[in-house]
Protein backbone atom coordinates (compact mmCIF):
# COMPACT_ATOMS: atom_id res chain seq x y z
CA UNK A 1 0.00 0.00 0.00
CA UNK A 2 1.10 3.55 -0.64
CA UNK A 3 1.04 4.46 3.05
CA UNK A 4 3.04 1.43 4.19
CA UNK A 5 5.42 2.48 6.92
CA UNK A 6 9.11 2.50 5.97
CA UNK A 7 11.24 3.28 9.01
CA UNK A 8 13.42 6.36 8.75
CA UNK A 9 17.08 5.74 9.51
CA UNK A 10 19.15 8.16 11.56
CA UNK A 11 22.95 7.90 11.64
CA UNK A 12 24.85 8.86 14.80
CA UNK A 13 28.38 10.37 15.05
CA UNK A 14 29.96 6.93 15.09
CA UNK A 15 28.19 6.07 11.85
CA UNK A 16 25.81 3.60 13.46
CA UNK A 17 22.31 3.40 12.00
CA UNK A 18 19.17 3.62 14.17
CA UNK A 19 15.54 3.21 13.13
CA UNK A 20 13.50 6.32 14.02
CA UNK A 21 10.40 5.51 16.01
CA UNK A 22 7.27 5.85 13.86
CA UNK A 23 3.96 6.95 15.33
CA UNK A 24 1.67 6.25 12.37
CA UNK A 25 -0.29 3.57 14.17
CA UNK A 26 -0.32 5.10 17.61
CA UNK A 27 -4.10 4.99 18.04
CA UNK A 28 -3.89 5.75 21.76
CA UNK A 29 -1.64 8.80 21.30
CA UNK A 30 -3.77 10.16 18.44
CA UNK A 31 -6.93 9.63 20.45
CA UNK A 32 -5.52 11.28 23.58
CA UNK A 33 -4.21 14.24 21.56
CA UNK A 34 -7.61 14.72 19.97
CA UNK A 35 -9.33 14.52 23.34
CA UNK A 36 -7.06 17.32 24.57
CA UNK A 37 -8.19 19.42 21.60
CA UNK A 38 -11.81 18.59 22.41
CA UNK A 39 -11.33 19.72 25.99
CA UNK A 40 -10.49 23.18 24.62
CA UNK A 41 -13.80 23.11 22.76
CA UNK A 42 -15.62 22.05 25.91
CA UNK A 43 -13.94 24.89 27.82
CA UNK A 44 -15.09 27.41 25.22
CA UNK A 45 -18.69 26.24 25.12
CA UNK A 46 -18.62 25.58 28.88
CA UNK A 47 -17.73 29.22 29.52
CA UNK A 48 -20.64 30.31 27.35
CA UNK A 49 -23.05 27.97 29.16
CA UNK A 50 -21.84 29.33 32.48
CA UNK A 51 -22.43 32.92 31.34
CA UNK A 52 -25.85 31.85 30.11
CA UNK A 53 -26.69 30.27 33.47
CA UNK A 54 -25.59 33.40 35.31
CA UNK A 55 -27.74 35.65 33.12
CA UNK A 56 -30.63 33.20 33.46
CA UNK A 57 -30.58 33.64 37.24
CA UNK A 58 -30.54 37.44 36.82
CA UNK A 59 -33.19 37.67 34.07
CA UNK A 60 -35.22 34.56 34.72
CA UNK A 61 -38.56 35.72 33.30
CA UNK A 62 -37.11 37.48 30.26
CA UNK A 63 -35.27 34.28 29.40
CA UNK A 64 -38.45 32.19 29.64
CA UNK A 65 -40.42 34.62 27.47
CA UNK A 66 -37.63 34.80 24.87
CA UNK A 67 -37.26 31.00 24.87
CA UNK A 68 -41.00 30.53 24.37
CA UNK A 69 -40.81 32.53 21.13
CA UNK A 70 -38.25 30.22 19.47
CA UNK A 71 -39.44 27.69 16.88
CA UNK A 72 -39.28 24.32 18.65
CA UNK A 73 -40.44 22.37 15.60
CA UNK A 74 -37.38 23.45 13.61
CA UNK A 75 -35.10 23.13 16.64
CA UNK A 76 -36.48 19.66 17.39
CA UNK A 77 -36.11 18.58 13.76
CA UNK A 78 -32.47 19.62 13.87
CA UNK A 79 -32.03 17.66 17.10
CA UNK A 80 -33.31 14.48 15.42
CA UNK A 81 -31.17 15.16 12.33
CA UNK A 82 -28.06 15.39 14.50
CA UNK A 83 -29.05 12.20 16.33
CA UNK A 84 -29.19 10.28 13.05
CA UNK A 85 -25.99 11.92 11.78
CA UNK A 86 -24.16 10.69 14.90
CA UNK A 87 -25.46 7.20 14.11
CA UNK A 88 -24.34 7.29 10.46
CA UNK A 89 -20.91 8.61 11.48
CA UNK A 90 -20.52 5.84 14.06
CA UNK A 91 -21.70 3.14 11.66
CA UNK A 92 -19.27 4.49 9.05
CA UNK A 93 -16.37 4.05 11.45
CA UNK A 94 -17.59 0.58 12.37
CA UNK A 95 -17.75 -0.42 8.71
CA UNK A 96 -14.28 0.99 8.07
CA UNK A 97 -12.83 -0.96 11.02
CA UNK A 98 -14.37 -4.14 9.66
CA UNK A 99 -13.12 -3.67 6.09
CA UNK A 100 -16.28 -2.36 4.40
CA UNK A 101 -14.73 0.77 2.85
CA UNK A 102 -17.61 1.32 0.40
CA UNK A 103 -20.15 1.13 3.23
CA UNK A 104 -18.04 3.52 5.31
CA UNK A 105 -17.97 6.05 2.49
CA UNK A 106 -21.74 5.79 2.04
CA UNK A 107 -22.22 6.49 5.74
CA UNK A 108 -19.92 9.53 5.56
CA UNK A 109 -21.95 10.84 2.62
CA UNK A 110 -25.14 10.29 4.62
CA UNK A 111 -23.62 12.28 7.48
CA UNK A 112 -22.66 15.12 5.11
CA UNK A 113 -26.22 15.24 3.75
CA UNK A 114 -27.72 15.31 7.25
CA UNK A 115 -25.26 18.02 8.35
CA UNK A 116 -26.20 20.10 5.30
CA UNK A 117 -29.90 19.63 6.12
CA UNK A 118 -29.17 20.90 9.64
CA UNK A 119 -27.57 24.06 8.26
CA UNK A 120 -30.40 24.64 5.77
CA UNK A 121 -33.01 24.38 8.54
CA UNK A 122 -30.93 26.67 10.75
CA UNK A 123 -30.79 29.11 7.83
CA UNK A 124 -34.61 29.08 7.50
CA UNK A 125 -34.92 29.62 11.23
CA UNK A 126 -32.55 32.57 11.33
CA UNK A 127 -34.24 34.09 8.25
CA UNK A 128 -37.64 33.89 9.95
CA UNK A 129 -36.20 35.49 13.07
CA UNK A 130 -34.62 38.25 11.00
CA UNK A 131 -37.97 38.89 9.29
CA UNK A 132 -39.54 39.26 12.73
CA UNK A 133 -36.95 41.88 13.62
CA UNK A 134 -34.95 39.61 15.91
CA UNK A 135 -31.32 39.47 14.87
CA UNK A 136 -27.98 40.79 16.02
CA UNK A 137 -27.71 44.49 15.23
CA UNK A 138 -31.45 45.09 14.67
CA UNK A 139 -33.34 47.60 16.83
CA UNK A 140 -35.10 44.98 18.95
CA UNK A 141 -31.77 43.69 20.23
CA UNK A 142 -30.23 47.14 20.76
CA UNK A 143 -30.81 48.91 24.05
CA UNK A 144 -32.26 52.42 24.22
CA UNK A 145 -34.75 52.67 21.37
CA UNK A 146 -38.52 52.33 21.10
CA UNK A 147 -38.32 48.82 19.62
CA UNK A 148 -35.87 47.52 22.24
CA UNK A 149 -36.73 44.27 23.92
CA UNK A 150 -36.21 44.02 27.70
CA UNK A 151 -32.54 43.75 28.65
CA UNK A 152 -32.80 40.10 29.66
CA UNK A 153 -34.26 39.18 26.26
CA UNK A 154 -31.49 41.12 24.50
CA UNK A 155 -28.97 39.03 26.44
CA UNK A 156 -30.84 35.81 25.66
CA UNK A 157 -31.03 36.42 21.93
CA UNK A 158 -27.48 37.76 21.82
CA UNK A 159 -26.20 34.53 23.34
CA UNK A 160 -28.59 32.44 21.25
CA UNK A 161 -27.25 33.82 17.97
CA UNK A 162 -23.66 33.65 19.21
CA UNK A 163 -23.82 30.05 20.43
CA UNK A 164 -25.94 28.61 17.63
CA UNK A 165 -23.74 30.55 15.19
CA UNK A 166 -20.52 29.09 16.59
CA UNK A 167 -22.15 25.66 16.68
CA UNK A 168 -23.24 26.08 13.03
CA UNK A 169 -19.67 27.02 12.16
CA UNK A 170 -18.52 23.75 13.75
CA UNK A 171 -21.07 21.88 11.60
CA UNK A 172 -19.65 23.62 8.53
CA UNK A 173 -16.11 22.66 9.58
CA UNK A 174 -17.34 19.10 10.12
CA UNK A 175 -18.68 18.93 6.56
CA UNK A 176 -15.31 20.19 5.31
CA UNK A 177 -13.27 17.61 7.22
CA UNK A 178 -15.66 14.84 6.14
CA UNK A 179 -14.95 15.73 2.51
CA UNK A 180 -11.24 15.67 3.38
CA UNK A 181 -11.73 12.25 5.00
CA UNK A 182 -13.39 10.97 1.81
CA UNK A 183 -10.39 12.20 -0.18
CA UNK A 184 -8.00 10.45 2.22
CA UNK A 185 -10.01 7.22 1.92
CA UNK A 186 -9.99 7.47 -1.89
CA UNK A 187 -6.22 7.94 -1.90
CA UNK A 188 -5.78 4.92 0.38
CA UNK A 189 -4.32 6.93 3.25
CA UNK A 190 -7.27 6.00 5.46
CA UNK A 191 -8.06 2.30 5.34
CA UNK A 192 -9.30 -0.52 7.58
CA UNK A 193 -5.70 -0.86 8.84
CA UNK A 194 -5.14 2.88 9.34
CA UNK A 195 -8.37 4.51 10.49
CA UNK A 196 -7.12 6.92 13.18
CA UNK A 197 -8.21 9.97 11.18
CA UNK A 198 -11.67 8.51 10.68
CA UNK A 199 -11.88 7.72 14.40
CA UNK A 200 -10.98 11.29 15.40
CA UNK A 201 -13.33 12.91 12.90
CA UNK A 202 -16.14 10.70 14.27
CA UNK A 203 -15.18 11.94 17.75
CA UNK A 204 -15.34 15.54 16.53
CA UNK A 205 -18.79 14.96 15.08
CA UNK A 206 -20.00 13.43 18.34
CA UNK A 207 -18.70 16.48 20.21
CA UNK A 208 -20.67 18.77 17.87
CA UNK A 209 -23.73 16.62 18.61
CA UNK A 210 -22.97 16.66 22.34
CA UNK A 211 -22.93 20.47 22.41
CA UNK A 212 -26.31 20.59 20.68
CA UNK A 213 -27.69 18.20 23.32
CA UNK A 214 -27.38 21.11 25.78
CA UNK A 215 -27.92 24.02 23.38
CA UNK A 216 -31.36 22.72 22.39
CA UNK A 217 -33.00 22.48 25.85
CA UNK A 218 -31.21 25.59 27.10
CA UNK A 219 -32.62 27.81 24.37
CA UNK A 220 -35.70 26.10 23.01
CA UNK A 221 -37.22 24.18 25.90
CA UNK A 222 -36.87 26.21 29.10
CA UNK A 223 -39.78 28.44 28.07
CA UNK A 224 -41.81 25.71 26.39
CA UNK A 225 -44.36 25.60 29.21
CA UNK A 226 -45.34 29.25 28.68
CA UNK A 227 -47.01 28.80 25.29
CA UNK A 228 -48.80 25.53 25.99
CA UNK A 229 -47.33 23.75 22.98
CA UNK A 230 -44.62 23.76 20.38
CA UNK A 231 -45.16 25.86 17.31
Amino acid sequence: MSHEYVPEIAVDREGKEHAVQGWQDDLYGAKLGFWLFMFTEVLMFGAMFMALTYYYTLHHDDFLIASSSLNRVLGGTNTVILLFSALTMGLGLLKMKHGDVKGAKLMIWATIILATAFLVIKGFEWTAEYQHGIFLGLDALQAGNEHSKPFGQILFFGMYFTMTGIHGFHILLGIGIMFWLLMRINSGKVSPEHYILHFNIALYWDLVHLIWVFVFPYYYMIGAGLTGGAH
Binding site: M50, S69, L94, L207, L210, P217, A224, G225
Partner: protein
Protein backbone atom coordinates in the same frame (compact mmCIF):
# COMPACT_ATOMS: atom_id res chain seq x y z
CA UNK B 1 -13.72 -14.79 11.57
CA UNK B 2 -16.96 -15.79 13.22
CA UNK B 3 -15.98 -13.94 16.39
CA UNK B 4 -15.24 -10.82 14.33
CA UNK B 5 -18.63 -11.04 12.59
CA UNK B 6 -20.35 -11.43 15.93
CA UNK B 7 -18.51 -8.41 17.33
CA UNK B 8 -19.52 -6.36 14.29
CA UNK B 9 -23.14 -7.39 14.70
CA UNK B 10 -23.07 -6.60 18.40
CA UNK B 11 -21.52 -3.19 17.83
CA UNK B 12 -23.95 -2.49 14.99
CA UNK B 13 -26.91 -3.37 17.19
CA UNK B 14 -25.40 -1.29 20.00
CA UNK B 15 -25.40 1.85 17.85
CA UNK B 16 -29.11 1.39 17.06
CA UNK B 17 -29.97 0.72 20.70
CA UNK B 18 -28.25 3.94 21.76
CA UNK B 19 -30.10 5.81 19.01
CA UNK B 20 -33.41 4.44 20.31
CA UNK B 21 -32.50 5.60 23.81
CA UNK B 22 -31.54 9.06 22.57
CA UNK B 23 -34.77 9.38 20.56
CA UNK B 24 -36.79 8.35 23.60
CA UNK B 25 -35.05 10.95 25.74
CA UNK B 26 -35.60 13.58 23.03
CA UNK B 27 -39.31 12.77 23.05
CA UNK B 28 -39.23 13.17 26.84
CA UNK B 29 -37.62 16.58 26.36
CA UNK B 30 -40.69 17.68 24.37
CA UNK B 31 -43.28 16.13 26.65
CA UNK B 32 -41.91 17.23 30.02
CA UNK B 33 -42.71 21.00 30.01
CA UNK B 34 -46.40 20.25 29.37
CA UNK B 35 -47.08 17.11 31.38
CA UNK B 36 -44.88 16.71 34.45
CA UNK B 37 -42.59 18.67 36.77
CA UNK B 38 -43.64 21.86 34.98
CA UNK B 39 -42.18 23.98 37.79
CA UNK B 40 -38.75 22.43 37.45
CA UNK B 41 -38.43 22.51 33.66
CA UNK B 42 -34.87 23.88 33.61
CA UNK B 43 -33.53 21.26 36.05
CA UNK B 44 -35.36 18.37 34.35
CA UNK B 45 -34.24 19.46 30.88
CA UNK B 46 -30.62 19.64 32.04
CA UNK B 47 -30.96 16.23 33.68
CA UNK B 48 -32.30 14.70 30.45
CA UNK B 49 -29.48 16.42 28.56
CA UNK B 50 -26.92 14.97 30.98
CA UNK B 51 -28.27 11.43 30.49
CA UNK B 52 -28.15 11.89 26.70
CA UNK B 53 -24.59 13.25 26.97
CA UNK B 54 -23.58 10.24 29.08
CA UNK B 55 -24.94 7.83 26.43
CA UNK B 56 -23.09 9.67 23.66
CA UNK B 57 -19.82 9.83 25.61
CA UNK B 58 -19.84 6.21 26.74
CA UNK B 59 -21.05 4.50 23.55
CA UNK B 60 -20.66 6.80 20.52
CA UNK B 61 -17.41 8.36 21.75
CA UNK B 62 -16.10 5.01 23.02
CA UNK B 63 -15.29 6.21 26.52
CA UNK B 64 -16.64 3.09 28.16
CA UNK B 65 -13.57 1.45 29.70
CA UNK B 66 -11.31 4.48 29.16
CA UNK B 67 -10.59 5.02 32.84
CA UNK B 68 -7.79 7.58 32.37
CA UNK B 69 -9.82 9.90 30.14
CA UNK B 70 -12.86 9.59 32.40
CA UNK B 71 -10.78 10.46 35.46
CA UNK B 72 -9.25 13.41 33.59
CA UNK B 73 -12.75 14.57 32.63
CA UNK B 74 -14.01 14.35 36.22
CA UNK B 75 -10.94 16.21 37.44
CA UNK B 76 -11.40 18.99 34.85
CA UNK B 77 -15.09 19.20 35.69
CA UNK B 78 -14.27 19.47 39.38
CA UNK B 79 -11.78 22.29 38.75
CA UNK B 80 -14.16 24.22 36.48
CA UNK B 81 -17.17 23.83 38.78
CA UNK B 82 -15.15 24.82 41.84
CA UNK B 83 -13.90 27.90 40.01
CA UNK B 84 -17.42 28.67 38.79
CA UNK B 85 -19.00 28.34 42.23
CA UNK B 86 -16.29 30.48 43.91
CA UNK B 87 -16.26 33.22 41.25
CA UNK B 88 -20.03 33.39 40.88
CA UNK B 89 -20.45 33.15 44.66
CA UNK B 90 -18.18 36.15 45.25
CA UNK B 91 -19.86 38.09 42.45
CA UNK B 92 -23.37 37.41 43.69
CA UNK B 93 -22.35 38.28 47.26
CA UNK B 94 -21.17 41.70 46.05
CA UNK B 95 -23.77 42.31 43.35
CA UNK B 96 -24.27 45.97 42.41
CA UNK B 97 -27.88 45.54 41.34
CA UNK B 98 -29.15 43.68 44.39
CA UNK B 99 -32.33 45.76 44.55
CA UNK B 100 -33.16 44.99 40.90
CA UNK B 101 -32.50 41.27 41.10
CA UNK B 102 -35.46 38.94 41.54
CA UNK B 103 -33.43 36.69 43.83
CA UNK B 104 -31.97 39.29 46.15
CA UNK B 105 -34.86 41.78 46.21
CA UNK B 106 -38.33 40.96 47.51
CA UNK B 107 -39.95 43.80 45.49
CA UNK B 108 -38.26 42.73 42.30
CA UNK B 109 -39.31 39.15 42.98
CA UNK B 110 -42.94 40.22 43.18
CA UNK B 111 -42.61 42.24 39.98
CA UNK B 112 -40.95 39.29 38.28
CA UNK B 113 -43.78 36.94 39.24
CA UNK B 114 -46.26 39.45 37.79
CA UNK B 115 -44.29 39.48 34.55
CA UNK B 116 -44.28 35.70 34.63
CA UNK B 117 -48.06 35.70 34.98
CA UNK B 118 -48.35 38.10 32.07
CA UNK B 119 -46.17 35.82 30.01
CA UNK B 120 -48.64 32.99 30.59
CA UNK B 121 -51.53 35.18 29.52
CA UNK B 122 -49.88 36.68 26.46
CA UNK B 123 -46.98 34.59 25.19
CA UNK B 124 -44.45 36.12 22.81
CA UNK B 125 -44.67 34.78 19.27
CA UNK B 126 -42.88 35.52 16.09
Amino acid sequence: MSTETKTYKEEYAGYWKVLAGLLLLTALTFIQPHYFLENATFAVQMLIGTVKAWLILMYYMHLKGEKEIIMFTYFSLFIVLTFFVIVIGVDVANIQFADLNHITSGDAAAAASETHGAAHAEPAHH
